[in-house]
Symmetry: C2
Subunit: 138 residues, 2 copies
DNA sequence: TCAATAATTGCACTTCCGTTGCATCGGTTG
DNA sequence: CAACCGATGCAACGGAAGTGCAATTATTGA
């Protein structure tokens, strides 16, 4: 159970009670979570604390932020060994238009794109919208 | 000069003075525009009118909405013959982190992605971030 | 033509999410 | 214990999207 604490410390984040709870909650859920989702799960905690916790996590490579096209930022735990900050883990994301959940498809990498002359790519974001496996009844 | 009016009428949108002006403005600019951009260009017009004009345009296949990751919706005129509403024109978009402009790369289509079992794709959004041709000095 | 009708526009207001400033709390250190 | 510093809580702000309704303008058809 000290695993979470170690993960935080290894990434230079002090493992406070709140942070451990948030980390565990995100690990338990298998989908990307919005600040509001976490807020609802921790009613007693202040919104700002959760907000800053997510930012701290993101700055230290513990979570990555996901823009799934809903205009609500989502967050998901990084896979161990994922170097988001180096833009080396450009997996795609899937947003289900039925259940409104967003998941990381960490195995599916964004294919290389040939850009027109003069354009320099530094980052990429690919979101597929549709029906997720749970909702497709498959 | 009746071209714009015809384009609007052909798409079932009544060509009011305001709409023609907005269409011309979007055609003149070669980049995707946010509501605020248009608002600044038409100071005398009400924001709601511009907002609803863009929505009307989008609902009738005159513009398409672009989510470039800035959490601000952008809009760009559809190419003639682009069937956005049928998700058949999945070109990618480029967002320059230097000048903050977003452009359609209508020639670059989003490659087909093989999804895991059970996932059904209906739409896709691919945004490349980096330096645009104007800013790269190329 | 002109009244009736429908669509468009303008104004005020609300909601939602993200963000910040500042005071307070609490643990760590010397 | 005292001092310090990071974490947390409270309050407020700002931008962007969206809505209700009244006023205005365009269209219809008697
Ligand atoms: Mn992810
Ligand atoms: Mn486009
Ligand atoms: Zn689903
Ligand atoms: Zn640029």
């Amino acid at each position: 159970m000290k695993e979470v604490e170690k993960r935080l410390e290894d990434n230079g984040v002090r493992p406070t009670a709140m942070r451990i709870l948030i980390y565990r909650y995100m690990a338990e859920k298998e989908v990307a979570l919005a600040l509001t989702d976490i807020e609802n799960a921790f009613a007693k905690a202040d919104r700002t604390t959760l907000y800053r916790t997510l930012r701290t996590f993101e700055e230290n490579g513990i979570v990555h932020q996901i823009d799934d096209g809903t205009n609500i930022s989502k967050y998901a735990l990084c896979e161990p060994g994922c170097n988001c900050e180096l833009d080396q883990d450009l997996h795609l994301h899937f947003h289900c238009t039925n259940c409104d959940e967003t998941v990381c498809l960490t195995q599916q990498k964004i294919p290389h794109i040939n850009l027109p002359e003069g354009y320099i790519a530094e980052d990429a974001n690919l979101v597929i919208k549709g029906i997720c496996e749970k909702c497709s009844g498959q």
